[in-house]
Symmetry: C2
DNA sequence: CTGTTAGCGCATTCAT
DNA sequence: ATGAATGCGCTAACAG
């Protein structure tokens, strides 16, 4: 099979199309960008020329000529856990990249866990922003703030945590019930047919993502693994110390504790309690988000699997979706779908 | 926390820099692009201006002015299995995207499994290509062909299957030994402490990726799960019918068969044999690549886990790496690392 | 309805 | 060692 001798790599320009269609640049532009006021006959001539020459617009030139630039706000939590720190870092990288594409990102830190504060921040956002990405809360005031931004023509994407009934353009994040189900399947399979108790620790069940994970987890565990009994979810407030105490109590109280599913943060507390108890190897512990800490626990064997969402992918995806929307380009859903990653010690990146 | 009132979203241009540095456009350009022939003092002045204004080059404008375009060849297998079909499709999508960035991809189909044919195709490749992505074979003649292309200044990336000792620029694909280890851990954990036999079916052990997966798998299985005995790998030549026969024989011969790891293709044969035997539910089957077929087997419960590499990501990554190299831009390794995905029925995309 | 024209921000001759 | 001028391919006024 010989490689075909490749001909000229010349690319047709708008001028070429104009010439072969026998019209002017402006007319071609009108046809290409589907603007009004061109006779059907002319449209046809231009389209024929486009087809004949295989014309594709040079998007760099188009962007340059259009001269528009974009300004986006990313509303992220103040402080926050390792995952949020990673996410912030990735948003910074993305900002750097976007700056080359005439897009500017401001990172605005607020206490995203307080609905009033979050809503307030959204309400007072500078009108200079054409788009905002926000770690949302599914709360009436937040929804209202998002809807008002949308009504003002601002593109809003929710990031990591959704506000499904709002008028946000797009949600960038994982399917949390599915993530919970994934954890449950892994837990059920790892425990084989063993009988026993499984604990669920969330940060707060009023956080939609935590609640959804818990829901998905319990659903599969109870329907598919009747040998395992899931305890009611405990709330560790994403705080390591509090989570450590909860875990220690759990271990003391339930001699038949076979597994722990943590659908929030505070993982250092779980690791401490588990390792202190001497039962780290026999208890299957599954948690969320790959961080420097959870990675260590996984490698060490204390943790058995990590369900992850890639903050780099999420940051880039949010920026791409916002940019595409604001410049009227399509997005490829395939590329923007955030995966539910499963990490074992063997496939760590 | 109120959102800061955002000031002017104006972006500094080269002209701005030139003006505040009191020099001409050309001089700024020389400094920015680290060209020779500028007095140190002038360089300093320009750099100060750049820093002061926070200047970032507009990459759209730069690309346009440079006016260079790129032509890449993707060498893919003729025919091929579902995975390869998906990959080809994704390369087509990528080509469409690249066309907007002055990059052109030609897909060249060859029998990549024959080293001589593959090497021949590479050797006779039109010199019009600045880059080529190839599903490599780790064979002396192929290596030599890759090295010669590299010597001619052509950027070569290997795709999915590597030729590690060649002078390729970059490998776009997963870490196959790690993928095998991942499968082994899953297999070991799913089988709990059960004693028994585990079969390994490869397409061909002379394919480097298959061999590496098999290696990783056996390594972990024998060191961590002494209760399981891995049979010597069988070769199904990625052919469903042949693989079906192998599987049927395996099932008939080994009453204690607990698991099957397929590190190649031919999955439909495995599913058929497994389902015909009535032991589909008790035998743990782990395979590679998410396709329309393997997805069905996973949902149905015949297959227990799929180790996957994302062909869309791979196609885009290859194109990005080639483009970045040819236009002297850096790549972000983080984004180009191909993940070893694990899919259970719960986290299917 | 259609054509002319002037940039967009940068790279690149060619002068000086 | 530095500057002035030209054009990349396209969009958007503005004319006709």
């Amino acid at each position: 099979m010989t490689a075909e001798a490749t001909p000229l790599p010349v690319r047709a320009t708008l001028e070429d199309v104009a010439r072969t269609a026998g019209v002017s640049l402006a007319t071609v532009d009108r046809v290409i960008n589907r603007r009004e006021g061109v006779r059907a006959k002319t449209v046809a001539r231009v389209e024929a020329a486009v087809a004949k020459l295989g014309y594709r617009a040079d998007i760099a030139a188009a962007r340059l000529a259009r001269g528009q630039s974009f300004r986006f706000a990313f509303v992220l939590p103040t402080g926050g856990n390792s995952f949020m720190t990673n996410l912030t870092e990735q948003v910074r990288h993305t900002a750097e990249w976007l700056a080359g594409q005439r897009g500017f990102i401001d990172i605005i830190h607020v206490d995203v866990f307080d609905p009033d504060v979050l809503a307030g921040a959204l309400e007072t956002l500078s009108p200079a922003y054409q788009g905002v990405a926000v770690i949302a809360l599914d709360h009436p005031r937040v929804r209202a703030a998002i809807d008002e931004l949308s009504a003002r023509g601002v593109a809003v994407v929710t990031l990591v945590s959704d506000a499904p009934s709002s008028r946000r353009l797009h949600y960038v994040g994982i399917d949390n019930p599915a993530a919970g189900r994934t954890a449950a399947t892994l837990m059920g399979r790892y425990l084989g047919g063993q009988e026993g108790t499984v604990a669920v620790i969330a940060g707060s069940l009023s956080l939609r993502d935590h609640a959804e994970r818990q829901f998905g987890f319990s659903q599969i565990l109870s329907s598919e693994y009747p040998n395992l009994r899931a305890l009611p979810a405990l709330e560790g407030r994403d705080d390591s110390e509090r989570t450590r105490e909860l875990t220690a109590t759990l271990l003391a109280r339930h001699g038949d504790l076979r597994g722990i599913y943590c659908c929030g943060a505070g993982n250092r507390g779980i690791a401490d309690a588990l390792e202190a108890s001497g039962r780290a190897r026999e208890v299957v512990w599954i948690t969320h988000e790959l961080t420097q800490h959870t990675r260590r626990f996984l490698v060490r064997g204390t943790c058995d699997a990590i369900i992850n969402q890639d903050p780099g992918h999420e940051a880039r995806s949010a920026a791409r979706v916002l940019l595409a929307h604001c410049s009227g380009e399509p997005i490829s859903p395939d590329q923007e779908r955030i995966r539910i990653d499963i990490f074992l010690r063997d496939n760590l990146p």
